[in-house]
């Protein structure tokens, strides 16, 4: 049951990714990416990460993708503007070689890692345990991230203004 679920979700996410980079129309690509993101959320839920699962849906599929789709719709590109130069076969060959090398390297590195059974605490992945860890061990990155987000918000508002 778990194996079947994993393979279904993995296939959906890879298919979503491939469709996204393959589509000419960025809106269709955006929807394929949403499919991929929701499948990834399911995969992290299978890894007992309840809080991150909800965050994936809330932040990625619910906020970032809405933003991207909003922008695509506002830009409202006509069909002629979407034409791109076709990808040459040399580039494809180069990419496939790099991927194969990367996969080989991954197998070499990960093939030896055998972590064995890890005991999980009762509240693993809970909002409480993640929050506790974030506010005690990682409080400095937490504060820095909030500053970064503030800078990003101010930057976006300034960039998108027509008259400063």
């Amino acid at each position: 049951m778990q194996v079947a679920l994993f393979y279904i979700l993995a296939t959906l996410s890879v298919a979503g990714g491939l469709l996204m980079v393959g589509q000419k129309n960025p809106l269709a690509g955006a929807f394929s990416l949403i499919l991929s993101l929701c499948s990834l959320a399911g995969l992290v839920a299978m890894l007992h990460a309840e809080f991150v699962f909800i965050l994936q849906v809330l932040v990625y599929a619910g906020a970032i993708m809405v933003l991207i789709i909003f922008t695509i719709m506002l830009l409202n590109l006509k069909k002629e503007e979407l034409q791109e130069a076709p990808v040459g076969w040399m580039r494809l060959l180069l990419t496939a070689t790099l991927c194969a090398l990367g996969a080989f390297g991954a197998i070499q590195v990960f093939g030896e890692v055998d972590p064995g059974q890890v005991e999980l605490a009762t509240g693993f992945g809970n909002i409480e345990s993640v929050g506790r860890s974030m506010l005690s061990d990682f409080v400095y990155p937490f504060e820095v991230i909030s500053l970064i987000l503030l800078v990003a918000v101010v930057g976006v508002v300034l960039l998108a203004k027509k008259v400063i």
Binding site: A10, F51, L98, F110, L120, F124, G125, S133, F142, L159
Partner: protein, 101 residues
């Protein structure tokens, strides 16, 4: 049974698909979305390690930070894109050659 390896291979595949999109697509929107896919692949890898290798929630916290940064970066990238579109009415990376010529 599904072990650490499965998740790591999936993460690697998704990362390479995203990298392909960034390198070979010319449409700026698709480039931005491919960056998001790469960040997601890394998130999956973090969570998989957290569950199978360490057993504590440091990976979840890291995934949270990656998500927050991805949101900030997507916002700013889109703002730049909108400004670019306003000035040049194009979103193809090939047409932005002002600094090259």
């Amino acid at each position: 049974m599904i072990g650490l390896h499965h998740y790591l291979y999936l993460s690697a595949i998704l990362f390479f698909i995203g990298a392909f999109g960034v390198l070979f697509r010319r449409n700026l929107l698709v480039i931005l979305m491919s960056i998001e896919l790469m960040l997601n692949a890394v998130n999956l890898s973090f969570i998989a390690f957290s569950r199978h290798a360490t057993g504590d929630v440091d990976g979840h916290v890291a995934a949270f930070f990656v998500m927050a940064l991805a949101a900030a970066e997507a916002g700013i990238g889109l703002a730049i894109l909108v400004m670019l579109f306003r000035n040049r009415t194009t979103v193809q990376a090939d047409d932005l050659t002002l600094m090259r010529d």
